[in-house]
Amino acid sequence: MLSEVEIEEINQELAGVPVKEAAGIEALKIIQRHRGWVSDESLRDVAAYLQMAPEELDSVATFYNLIFRQPVGRHIILLCDSISCWVMGYEQLSSQLRQKLGIGFGQTTADGCFTLLPNPCLGTCDHAPALMIDNDLYRDVSPEMLDEILGKYK
C-alpha cells in the first residue's frame, strides 16, 4: 500500500507529465526515498497506481542501477571505480573498505548499516579517489580516512 505522503508526491510528478508512464522513474525514486528500496510489492503498488503492468515498470526499474530492487542498508556507499580513481588508488581503497566493512560489493553489513556498491565515475576526477555515502561526497580519500568517514554513520 502506498502511503498518503507517497501518493501525494507521486501526484505532483503526474501533474507535470503528459502520460502516466513518464512519471514511473520519479515514482520509484519516491518509494525508494521513503522505504530505502523497491520491493516486489511496492513495485506492484506503484505500477497499479500509474495504471501500468508491473512488468512495464520493472523493465524500467531494473534497467537503472540506482533503483534498488533488493533490500539495502541504512547507508549506501558508492565507491567510484572509474578510470581516474582507479589510477589514483582505487584498488587499495576498495580492499580496505571491504575489509573494514566485512562485505563485498553488492552486500550489506550484518548490522544493516551499510550497503557497498561500485559506481561509475562520480565526476570529481581531480580529487580521486572518491566515494559517496548517501548525499555526502568524499574526495581525495585515502584508506586512513575510512574509519573517520564511516564513523559518522554508525
Binding site: 502520460v19 516486489d40 503492468a53 508491473p54 512488468e55 512495464e56 520493472d58 531494473t62 534497467f63
Partner: protein, 902 residues
C-alpha cells in the same frame, strides 16, 4: 521501380522497401534476427549488414544494416564483400558466446532460425573461452515454455508481445549483457496471442508447451494445410502429427486472412483430437457386437428406412458434410443445429452481406481502415484475430502521417512508434460491457443492445437523412453520434464492425445502415459482421430450417428418426426441450468427434473425423471458402462425416449420393448444384493434381524412423495410407518444392528450416504467397444500387423491476466446445457467473459470489453473480458454453426471484 546493384549485378526492385526486404525478395540469403516482415526494422541485432558503396568509383564502401536502409535507385551494395561476410559471422560468434550448446535437447532444434543463420554465416569455431551467463527461467503458464539461457536478445519477443499484440506482462528487464525477457514474477502470460512467441522467437526461449507433452521435431512430423476451427475468422494453420496423435498447431501464412499470426485458442485448442473423450468407436445402443463399418451401416440404414427422418446440420461441420446430410434427408428435412436466435442473426448477416452494398474486409483491409466503429461486439472473444488487426489499424493512420512528415519510412518501426506516442486513428467501440478493444478505442460507450442499435441508427441518420431519425436520445448520445458520424465521414476507408455478439438483430441492422450510408456518400467502406463458428456462414448459405421446427416436427410426430451431424443439441436449445426431443425420437443417430450430452442419448454413434482426420471446405465470416486437409489416417473406423453419410445413403438405397465418392466429387457437386457456392472447386487443386507426376509430400524430406516407428508391433513397415481425396501424399515421397498456396503442408526451404522460410513462399517478402493467398470470397455485394435502409425505430432500453435483460457473453478460452478439452485452455476459462451492474446487485442486496435465482422460459436457474461498476443498469451477461452454465437461448428477460433477507 528502382535499379539496385547487388555485387555489381543490376536488379529491379520496389522503391520504399528496405534493402533487407529487397534482397530477400530477390531470393538472396541474407541473415537477420530483429527484423520481422510484420513488425518492421529496429536495427538491434546488426545481423543483416551489407556493404554500401557511394558510386561505382567507391571501392571501400561502408557497412550498413540492410534492414535500416531504404532502397534507392542506382544504389550499389555488396552481400559478398569480405568485411560484410566477416561482420555477419562475427554477430553469430557474439551471440554464441552465451548461447548454450543444447541443440540436441532443444525444442527449437531443426526449426531454429538461429541454427539456420549460424550455418548461413559460416561461423564454426568457438573463440570465446570464458564462462557463459545463466538465467533462471519462469513458469509462464500453460501455453509457453521459457528457457532464457537460449536468448540472443533480438528483442523480437517483446516487439511482438508488447508492441504488436499490446501485451503488458512481458518485458525486457535489466541491462547490458544481462537483459532478461520475462515477467515481473512467474505467472500466466495473459495476452491472447502469446503463442505466436513460439514462432516469433528465433531460438528456443519461448516454445510450445503443449508440443512438449509429445515432443517431435519438425522434420519428424506429418503436416497438413488446415484451417482453425476455433471461430469464424478462418485462420490458416498447419496441423502436425506423429504416431496418430496431433502434436502441434502453427500459423500458416495467408496474407488475406491471418497473416503470420493466430490466437491462442487456435494454437492450443487442438488437444481434443487426442483426448480420452474422443468418439473413436462405433456404438449402437444394446448391440455391442456391432463394431465394423458394414454392420453399422446396415443397422443404421435399417433404422433410417423404418421411419421418417430429419437431419440436423452443424456450423462446425464442413460444407461437404452438411451437404451430404441434406442430400441424405432431403432439403425439406434439413435443419440447422444452432440456437434459434443465432439462426436468425446469422441469416440476417448473410442477407445484409448478399443484398447490401458493402463488402466484408480482408485482414489487410482491416489493418488499413482509418476510422472504425464497433457496434456490440466483444471482439477478442468473438473474433480474436480481428483485434490484432485493429491494433495495427489504429496506429496506421498516425504512422503514415508522421512517416510522410518526418520522411522516415513506415517500416522504421521503433522510430514511427516513438513518434506516434499515444496518438491513434479513431476507433469507437460501443458494447454492452467493458471489452478488450477498449484499449484501442478513442471512445468507448457501454450500453444495452437496444441502445447500441439506437446509437447505430442515429449515426446512420446523421450520415444519411434517409435513415429515420432516432427519437429520445440523451444529450450525451446525441453529441457522440454527431461526432462519430462526422469522423466516419472524414475518413477515407471507414470500417464498421458488428455481429452476433450482442445477440441483437437491431444492432446488426444499425451497423449495416451506417455502412450503407457511408457507401452512399462515396466512402470506400467495409462492413465486418462476425458469426459464431467456423462454418456458420457456410451452413447459413446452404439454407435449411430452424432448430425449433425440428423439435416441433418430432413433437408433432412428423418425424421420428433424427440424424445429428457433429452437434451437441444441449448447447443449442434448452435442456427440457432437447430431452423431450431426444426421448420422442425413435432413433437418434449421431455422427461426432467427441462425447457430449447428446451422445449419451444417441442410440447410434458414428465416429467422425476431426479436422485433423478429415478434408473439407469451410466458409469464414468474411465469406471466404477455404479448404482444410487431413493430417493423418486414424486407426479404426473414424472417417469424414461426408464419407459416412454417403455410405449411409448407399446403404439406405438412397441414390442421390451414389455418384459422389471422393472429396472432389462433393466439391464439384456442391458448386454445380448450389450457385451460391460456385467457385469452391477452384480454391485448391483437385486430387489428381501433380507436380512432375508427384503428389505433394506431407512429410518433410528428412522424416526419420518410418521403418522403425512401429517395429514393436510389426517388423515390416505398414503400407502407408494413400490419399485419394487430395493432391497430398501421406509420406515423405512426393514433391518438396513450393506447391500451390492452398496445399502448402509446411514451410521449409533450403537453408531455412525455421518458420522464417515463409519468405521463400511469398512473391515478395511479407506479400502474398506465390500463386496468391488461398481461398475465394463467395459473397460480394450487389452492384452499387441504392441501399434499402433498415431504419428501425427502437425504443430506449427499459429497465424493468425484478427483471434483468440477460445477454450472452463469450470467452476466447471457455466458450468454444472443443478447445476446452485442452487443459491449458480450460485453465484459462473464466468463472461461470452472471455479471451485473454493481448498482443493480446493491439494490438486490447481493454481493460478488452470491447466488442469483431466476426464471427463464419457465425454468428455474441459480447462478453466482459478479458485479462490475461499468455495466449498464438492468442488464446482465451470462458466459456462454462454459462448464456449469446451462444453455439458455439468450438474449432475453429473466425474472428474478425475490431475495429473502435474513
Amino acid at each position: 521501380m528502382a535499379t539496385l546493384f547487388i555485387d555489381n549485378a543490376p536488379y529491379q526492385v520496389k522503391e520504399g522497401k528496405n534493402l533487407l526486404e529487397a534482397c530477400l525478395s530477390l531470393g538472396f540469403d541474407l541473415p537477420y534476427f530483429c527484423w520481422h516482415p510484420a513488425m518492421g526494422s529496429v536495427g538491434a541485432c546488426r545481423q543483416c549488414a551489407v556493404k554500401s558503396f557511394r558510386d561505382e568509383e567507391d571501392t571501400r564502401g561502408k557497412l550498413v544494416m540492410s534492414c535500416m536502409e531504404p532502397v534507392r535507385d542506382q544504389a550499389r551494395i555488396s552481400i559478398q564483400d569480405a568485411e560484410a561476410v566477416g561482420f555477419r559471422a562475427g554477430i553469430i560468434e557474439w551471440l554464441m558466446t552465451n548461447h548454450p550448446h543444447d541443440c540436441a535437447v532443444c525444442d527449437e532444434g531443426g526449426s531454429c532460425h538461429l541454427q539456420d543463420m549460424t550455418v548461413m554465416t559460416g561461423h564454426n569455431y568457438r573463440r570465446f573461452r570464458f564462462n557463459k551467463r545463466t538465467y533462471r527461467n519462469q513458469d509462464l503458464g500453460p501455453f509457453l515454455n521459457h528457457e532464457m539461457n537460449r536468448c540472443i536478445h533480438c528483442y523480437r519477443c517483446i516487439r511482438f508481445y508488447k508492441d504488436y499484440a499490446g501485451g503488458k506482462d512481458l518485458d525486457a528487464m535489466g541491462a547490458h549483457n544481462h537483459v532478461y525477457f520475462g515477467r515481473s514474477e512467474d505467472g500466466v502470460l495473459e495476452n491472447e496471442f502469446s503463442g505466436n512467441l513460439a514462432e516469433v522467437c528465433p531460438t528456443g526461449v519461448f516454445t510450445d508447451k503443449s508440443l512438449k507433452q509429445h515432443y517431435t521435431r519438425k522434420w519428424d512430423m506429418t503436416h497438413a494445410p488446415s484451417l482453425c476451427q476455433g471461430c469464424a475468422m478462418g485462420c490458416n494453420i498447419i496441423a502436425s502429427e506423429r504416431y496418430g496423435e496431433l502434436r502441434q498447431i502453427s500459423s500458416r501464412f495467408n496474407g488475406e486472412v491471418n497473416g503470420y499470426f493466430i490466437c491462442d485458442r487456435g494454437r492450443f485448442g487442438y488437444e481434443f483430437v487426442n483426448s480420452e473423450d474422443r468418439i473413436r468407436e462405433i456404438g449402437v445402443k444394446g448391440k455391442p457386437e456391432i463394431k465394423d463399418r458394414d454392420s453399422l451401416l446396415r443397422t443404421a440404414a435399417a433404422r433410417i428406412r423404418e421411419g421418417s427422418v430429419l437431419g440436423i446440420g452443424s456450423p462446425r461441420a464442413s460444407l461437404e458434410s452438411n451437404f451430404a446430410l441434406r442430400k441424405l434427408v432431403g432439403e425439406d428435412n434439413f435443419y440447422h443445429g444452432v440456437a434459434d436466435t443465432e439462426f436468425d442473426l446469422v441469416n440476417l448477416t448473410l442477407r445484409i452481406l448478399k443484398e447490401g452494398t458493402v463488402r466484408t474486409p480482408t485482414l489487410p483491409e482491416i489493418e488499413s481502415a482509418d476510422a472504425i466503429l464497433i457496434l456490440g461486439e466483444d471482439l477478442i472473444n468473438t473474433a480474436p484475430r480481428m483485434v490484432l488487426a485493429l491494433r495495427q489499424a489504429v496506429r496506421r493512420g498516425p504512422g503514415e502521417a508522421l512517416s510522410a512528415r518526418m520522411n522516415v519510412p513506415l517500416w522504421q518501426d521503433a522510430a514511427i512508434r516513438q513518434a506516434i506516442q499515444q496518438d491513434k486513428a479513431p476507433l469507437f467501440s460501443i458494447t454492452p460491457y467493458p471489452v478488450r478493444q477498449d484499449e484501442l478505442a478513442t471512445k468507448s460507450l457501454y450500453e444495452s443492445p437496444d441502445d447500441i442499435s439506437r446509437i447505430g441508427f442515429a449515426i446512420a441518420h446523421a450520415i444519411d437523412p434517409d435513415v429515420t431519425e432516432i427519437k429520445r436520445l440523451s444529450d450525451e448520445e446525441r453529441m457522440w453520434t454527431a461526432h462519430m458520424a462526422a469522423v466516419l465521414l472524414r475518413a477515407e476507408r471507414p470500417l464498421i464492425i458488428s455481429g452476433y455478439g450482442a445477440g441483437s438483430e437491431a444492432v446488426i441492422k444499425s451497423a449495416a445502415d451506417v455502412a450503407w450510408a457511408l457507401k452512399k456518400s462515396g466512402k470506400d467502406v467495409r462492413l465486418s459482421l462476425t458469426v459464431p463458428e467456423c462454418n456458420s456462414m457456410g451452413l447459413a448459405m446452404m439454407g435449411g430450417h430452424r432448430l425449433e421446427s425440428a423439435l416441433d416436427a418430432v413433437a408433432h410426430g412428423h418425424a421420428d428418426t433424427v440424424i445429428i451431424l457433429e452437434n451437441d443439441l444441449y448447447r443449442r436449445a434448452e435442456k427440457t426441450l432437447v430431452d423431450e426431443f431426444l426421448q420422442k425420437s425413435r432413433h437418434v443417430i449421431l455422427l461426432d468427434q467427441v462425447y457430449h450430452q447428446t451422445a449419451e442419448e444417441a442410440d447410434v454413434i458414428i465416429p467422425a473425423g476431426t479436422f485433423a482426420e478429415a478434408d473439407g471446405t469451410l466458409i469464414s465470416g468474411e465469406g471466404r471458402a477455404q479448404r482444410f486437409y487431413q493430417v493423418f489416417v486414424p486407426d479404426g473406423p473414424v472417417q469424414e462425416s461426408w464419407r459416412w453419410l454417403q455410405q449411409l445413403a448407399e446403404a439406405c438405397g438412397n441414390r442421390t449420393l451414389s455418384h459422389l465418392r471422393i472429396l472432389d466429387d462433393f466439391v464439384l457437386e456442391i458448386a454445380k448444384t448450389c450457385p451460391q457456392f460456385e467457385g469452391i472447386e477452384h480454391i485448391a487443386p483437385p486430387s489428381d493434381f501433380r507436380i512432375g507426376a508427384q503428389k505433394i509430400a506431407r512429410q518433410p524430406h528428412r522424416y526419420s524412423g518410418r521403418t522403425a516407428k512401429e517395429a514393436h508391433i510389426q517388423v515390416s513397415e505398414r503400407k502407408p495410407p494413400s490419399d485419394e481425396d487430395s493432391p497430398l501424399s501421406f509420406t515423405m515421397e512426393g514433391y518438396h518444392g513450393i506447391p500451390p498456396s492452398a496445399v502448402v503442408p509446411f514451410f521449409w526451404a533450403p537453408g531455412w528450416n525455421s518458420i522464417q522460410s515463409i519468405n521463400k513462399y511469398q512473391i515478395e517478402v511479407g506479400g502474398p504467397l506465390h500463386d496468391g493467398d488461398p481461398g475465394r470470397r463467395l459473397i460480394e455485394p450487389g452492384d452499387a444500387h441504392t441501399p434499402v435502409f433498415f431504419a428501425e425505430q427502437a425504443a430506449p432500453f427499459p429497465i424493468r423491476p425484478d427483471c434483468l435483460y440477460l445477454i450472452p457473453q463469450y470467452a476466447i478460452f471457455g466458450t468454444e466446445e472443443f478447445s476446452v478439452h485442452s487443459p491449458g485452455i480450460a485453465s484459462r476459462s473464466p468463472a461461470a457467473a452472471i455479471t451485473v451492474a454493481r448498482a443493480d446487485a446493491d439494490s438486490w442486496g447481493l454481493r460478488d459470489g452470491d447466488l442469483l435465482e431466476f426464471q427463464f422460459n419457465g425454468q428455474e436457474y441459480k447462478l453466482a453473480i459478479q458485479t462490475n461498476q461499468q455495466y449498464p443498469r438492468g442488464m446482465g451477461t451470462l458466459p456462454i458454453g462454459l462448464k456449469g452454465v446451462p444453455f439458455m437461448d439468450l438474449p432475453g428477460w429473466i425474472r428474478l426471484k425475490p431475495v429473502e433477507r435474513s
